[in-house]
Symmetry: C2
Subunit: 245 residues, 2 copies
């Protein structure tokens, strides 16, 4: 029997926000492989599965294990939060399988990405064109990240920041706010969601000027409005341009 | 009894790609309201619901009907494909309820957006920063759209185009490709998905140079690679930057 790898995006970790396809890929997997924090989220939801947790930054190793299991004929679910196709495990899995010359079927199972989950809780900030930028410089040079932020601000994109801060990387978010303020007012609304879609989630709004001082951590998603975004009745809205009659 | 409106993103139209939350919001709705094409997709999946279809470009009217039903105490599912929070009905619904001074609970139920669905079928093109741009100039001036495309290309974003072409609007996609070629090679890989996630879906790749001549229509999503994207074994990949050892 030939194995197969499903690279599954499981969304926020609330089962209700998973797609039926993701639930089925996990339930029918012989082995579920992922970063230990994600495995800890899934275990209570799918208690009868066989899990192989792995530690942070061991992405390549994790994919090799997935490939080896699949070559043994196992059905593998390689899991990431959000959408496996947005800063997720889909790319590295395809690259590792290719380097191994492993003839394995690999199927990406998309999920609800953090931008979508956060936007739903904030109101409707993504009704017009937007850019998604990760502030993590582990894999992209920080100068390129800053250049993208400046150009995205100039283009009047709504800007959605993933990985806005970590314990060691605390300065980027304030610097990003400064760069955006070169072409957007200080009063521009900003929405912040921590743990989007989970029961301990927090949702709040602020302004570009105050963004650098907000209690943001790596579990947050930050959405910075464009020049037309506003906050009303507690909801952050970017008009799409429909004529309200 | 007080009504409530769920603004539901139902993904591609394949039930397996819907979240459990979206399925439940539709199944438990007293009335399901949406653009007629979307209602036609949902009817076979949820045959026992009470539907109110409406025609294209009647978004404001549709939201007013939703609000009136909710004020009567009905549970309403206002549906859009993909994610209701990305170019969907979430924003206009909040705006209409506000203009009506209607005190209604409105909850956005996010879904898998077309960018995620298309990326999963193409391989892993969204592993690095990206911009999402709609080529429809019904609600955004075309000059602003072109400006965004040029700046997104300069910033080396992967560029995901929604609404790339319609019957009357056929020139934008070729012009977009030209603008991107100012700062990116003609050979840049491009992925195109028509009807992502549905049984009649089509998936193919091309290059930036040939993009203007591809048989693209309004049901397509187009993903243009960044300077590092490549196609191998039929899969389009944007490296995240993980070191492959």
């Amino acid at each position: 029997m030939k194995g197969k790898i499903y690279v599954v995006g499981f969304g926020s970790g609330d089962r209700r926000v998973m797609t039926e396809q993701a639930v089925s890929a996990i339930e029918n997997a012989d082995v579920v492989i992922g970063y230990i924090t994600y495995i800890d989220i899934l275990k209570p939801l799918f208690p009868n599965q066989n899990y192989i947790p792995s530690s942070m930054r061991r992405e390549t190793e994790r994919c090799k294990i997935a490939a080896e299991e699949a070559l043994k004929g196992q059905r593998v679910a390689l899991v990431s939060s959000g959408d496996s196709g947005i800063y997720g495990m889909s790319g590295i899995m395809l690259e590792v399988a290719d380097r191994m010359n492993a003839d394995i079927e690999i199927e990406a199972v998309p999920g609800v990405t953090a931008a979508s989950a956060a936007a739903a809780l904030l109101g409707a900030p993504l009704m017009n064109d937007f850019a998604v930028i990760s502030l993590s410089d582990l894999m992209t040079p920080i100068d390129l990240i800053y250049k993208r932020i400046e150009l995205a601000a100039l283009a009047d994109f709504v800007i959605c920041l993933y990985n806005p801060k970590s314990k060691l990387r605390t300065e980027h978010i304030g610097k990003a706010a400064e760069l955006i303020m070169k072409s957007r007012p200080k009063s521009t609304p900003v929405g912040i969601v921590r743990n989007a879609g989970r029961c301990d989630c927090a949702v709040w709004t602020t302004t570009l000027e105050k963004l650098g001082d907000e209690p943001i951590d790596m579990l947050c998603t930050v959405i910075i409005g464009n020049s037309e975004s506003y906050i009303k009745n507690g909801k952050m809205i970017t008009p799409r341009g429909y004529l309200i009659k």
